[in-house]
């Protein structure tokens, strides 16, 4: 009997084409679209460029058309309440606390893969698949299945999977791991899929226009301290200027501070309690040592103090070499061999050994 796999269909070209590869590989493929956007946000999105929003009404329809075209059933599941409380509320809270969240990483952990795994369990499916550009494989060195970087390095989405629960790793299929985006689009076009030329989706699906400040203001009201103007200070506490509300700033940011100084100044810290943005020179903005919490480790024995890993400190980061020292149950001190700007609290540190994704943790 064919092995059953549930694939998440966003209505985009990647997941639709992934269906084709699974069909070819001989699986019994079942498509599933999770409707995550709360109605109010979806309506606002659809009024603009709705078709570019994952899981909008249009996207669900496109997913359905592709599924039928590829001969698989397609079901729609609503998990917007969980998405609101688990992802959107977390996103807003993090900004109000002066941190810079990564909703996609946590959506994968708490919503997307979680729900599909639960459905897989209830529906007797052995695997859950997505159209992520990442690969899985068996690592001889670590004697286990791990996620690894895909063939298309420019599209590498393995970072987004670094907080998945360990038990998911053996159950995920990532059919696009061996293909480049242009190859995917070409195959989609050859298959006659209507989404072959559909534009790529945004990074934050619930804020399609990218204006997260307005989104947070509209969601939580302007009474929050984080919306209110405050002081921009340097490390010694000298007031250098005024800020427009801490939600507008990210650690490592240089532009848009409205300060005049001989040398460029960077945001080095956001102090939510004092409602202050702390700035400093490049030398102060570059740090090498920082703490990460809640280490999610796929690779068996925890990281050893002397081992060197490649780490990414944000999604599009090129990668740096770091050592990790255990300082608590799941907390580690990371030391970058070369200090860097933009070590941003709230963002995720993903840990690699070459192409293998070993784990992830939240930057404190």
């Amino acid at each position: 009997m064919k092995e059953k796999v549930i694939i998440g269909l966003s209505g985009g070209v990647d997941s639709a084409t992934a269906v084709h590869f699974l069909n070819e590989a001989g699986y019994e493929v079942v498509g599933m679209t999770l409707k995550m956007l709360p109605d109010k946000i979806e309506a606002a999105c659809s009024a603009g460029e709705g078709f570019r929003v994952c899981c909008s009404r249009e996207a669900v329809m496109e997913a359905r058309i592709c599924a039928m075209k590829l001969g698989i059933p397609h079901y729609v599941v609503n998990c917007s309440a969980d998405f609101q409380s688990g992802i959107i509320d977390y996103f807003i809270r993090e900004y109000l606390d002066g941190r810079t969240p990564n909703p996609c990483v946590f959506c994968n952990q708490k919503i997307k893969f979680k729900f599909m795994m639960e459905y897989a369990e209830m529906m007797g499916a052995k695997y859950v698949a997505t159209g992520h550009y990442a690969d899985t494989g068996y690592s001889e060195k670590y004697s286990r299945t791990l996620v690894r970087k895909p063939a298309d390095a420019s599209r590498d989405q393995s970072y987004m999977l670094c907080m998945l629960p360990l038990e998911y790793i053996e159950k995920i299929l990532l059919p696009l791991g061996r293909y480049t985006k242009p190859e995917t689009r070409k195959i989609a076009a050859d298959l006659g899929l209507i989404v072959a030329n559909k534009p790529d989706s945004q990074e934050i699906c619930f804020i399609p226009d990218g204006d997260y400040q307005t989104f947070i203001r509209n969601s939580s009201g302007s009474a929050e301290t984080a919306m209110k103007p405050g002081k921009i200070v340097d490390a010694r506490g000298t007031v250098l200027g005024k800020h427009a509300g801490i939600i507008n700033y990210t650690v490592g940011q240089r532009k848009g501070l409205g300060l005049t100084s001989k040398e460029p100044l960077y945001v080095v810290k956001i102090d939510a309690l004092k409602n202050e943005v702390v700035v400093g020179l490049e030398s102060e903005a570059k740090i090498s040592r920082f703490t990460v919490c809640g280490m999610n480790w796929f690779a068996g024995a925890p990281p050893a103090e002397d081992d060197e890993y490649t780490v990414k400190i944000r999604y599009k980061h090129r990668g740096s070499v770091a050592r990790l020292k255990k300082i608590g149950e799941n907390d580690f001190e990371a030391t970058l061999l070369v200090p860097e700007k933009g070590v941003t609290p709230g963002q995720i540190l993903a840990v690699y050994d070459g192409d293998w994704l070993l784990g992830g943790a939240v930057i404190k």
């Binding site: 039928m68 079901y75 729900f115 459905y119 369990e121």
Partner: protein
């Protein structure tokens, strides 16, 4: 590749829609291919098409004990219901027949094409709505209408049978009350027609809606029965079709199929009903054994012979979804609530109006049998549902252990 085949499915969702009868398909195809004329044309091509429509009109009228001129063809049951509600209210308001406050009396379990039309009519102000309560046993008391109707009531709208539960409502008694009180009475008979025999005379209604695709006719044809003498305004402005009450070129092929389906049920309704009832009893007895946690709703009162409303003991909406996906993957088609609200986030208003909790309403499956179903299909469906249910409960145990 592309797969839209349905021949291997066990289709037990005949309240959502029905497969088209041979007789209806033949009539439809004939009209599609040969009587292509526009019924409004003076020439012989037009005449031929007009004749097809008039024959169908007579067939529909005969099935429900009406006269042919009392049938207005529409595109859908929704259009028929909207015409009934907007048409009567529009007429009353425009003729100045009513000054001061007005109200519509209906129930809390109507199809969206009635409840949302009533809501929209009332949103303009000046008209309010009163809804008769429904008991947890799906019963509607005619006396409640006696109480709710007052001197300002302009329309009463009640469905003949509820599409989600199959409960049959006492429309004849309500019709008697409306006649005595001089209030227009509309009956949504979309779900009931073809399953039980009735006559508009016995019901004593002024308006009644039917849709072809619920009785093994094609989609795209439906009608509003309008008793002679009752005045309504049309929904659309345009040509003179359907006695000036439904502008737009008639869907001749679909109407031809509608007529053929009505002929079939005029001759076969009792035997069809007996067939449904046999399947329903076989299913009800089997499913109670297979799924001990299941409850059969509205099983005590008068109900359609083909409809089973089954509440399962699921813990959350995702278990319900997974159950539905499992049985669908195994080839069994049924509904959660009504077809039009499937996979909705909100539970069925019909079931919650009957006092059901949200999760119980979410966990309610509607199984509706049709002329094409067999005992073997019913037995296979029970087995498939049992297996699907087992998968859910096993996964729940694993989740709890984790």
């Amino acid at each position: 590749m592309e797969n839209t085949r349905t021949d291997s499915l066990i289709y037990l969702d005949n309240n959502a829609t029905t497969p088209v009868l041979e007789e209806a398909a033949a009539a439809l195809n004939g009209a599609l291919r040969s009587t292509y004329g526009n019924p409004s044309s003076y020439h012989r091509a037009g005449m031929a098409a007009g004749y097809v429509i008039e024959k169908a009109r007579a067939s529909v009228a005969r099935l429900i004990g009406a006269a042919a001129p009392e049938i207005i063809f529409t595109s859908s049951g929704t259009e028929a219901n909207n015409t009934a509600i907007y048409g009567t209210i529009g007429r009353i308001m425009s003729s100045g027949g009513k000054s001061g406050p007005a109200n519509i009396v209906t129930t809390g379990v109507e199809h969206h094409s009635v409840s949302n039309a009533v809501k929209a009519v009332c949103s303009g102000g000046g008209i309010s709505v009163k809804r008769a309560a429904i008991s947890s046993e799906c019963k509607l008391e005619p006396e409640e209408f006696e109480r709710l109707i007052d001197e300002n009531t302009v329309l009463v709208s009640v469905m003949l049978a509820n599409n989600e539960t199959g409960a049959i409502f006492p429309v004849s008694e309500i019709g008697g009350i409306c006649a005595r009180r001089g209030v227009l009475f509309h009956v949504d008979a979309v779900c009931a027609t073809g399953k039980i025999r009735y006559s508009v005379k016995d019901i004593n209604c002024d308006l009644l809606s039917i849709s072809a695709h619920k009785l093994y006719g094609p989609k795209g044809a439906a009608c509003l029965y309008k008793k002679r003498g009752v005045e309504i305004t049309p929904l659309f402005r345009g040509g003179h079709q359907e006695a000036n009450l439904r502008a737009g070129t008639e869907n001749v092929p679909a109407i031809a199929g509608f007529g053929a389906a009505c002929d079939y049920f005029f001759n076969n309704i009792e035997s069809s009903a007996a067939h449904y009832l046999k399947l329903k009893e076989l299913f009800s007895a089997g499913i109670k054994k297979a799924l001990p946690g299941a409850t059969l709703n509205c099983s005590s009162g008068e109900a359609l012979p083909n409809t089973v409303s089954l509440t399962l003991d699921f813990c959350d909406i995702h278990e319900v979804n997974a159950f539905m996906f499992n049985i669908d993957l195994a080839g069994v088609c049924v509904s959660l609530g009504a077809a039009c609200s499937s996979m909705a986030k909100e539970p069925s208003e019909v079931l919650t109006a009957m006092g059901m909790s949200d999760i119980r309403a979410h966990s309610t499956v509607r199984v509706s049998f049709g002329v094409q179903n067999t005992e073997d299909e019913v037995l296979r469906a029970i087995r498939i549902m049992e297996e699907a249910y087992g998968k859910i409960t096993r996964a729940r145990k694993l989740r709890v252990q984790a």
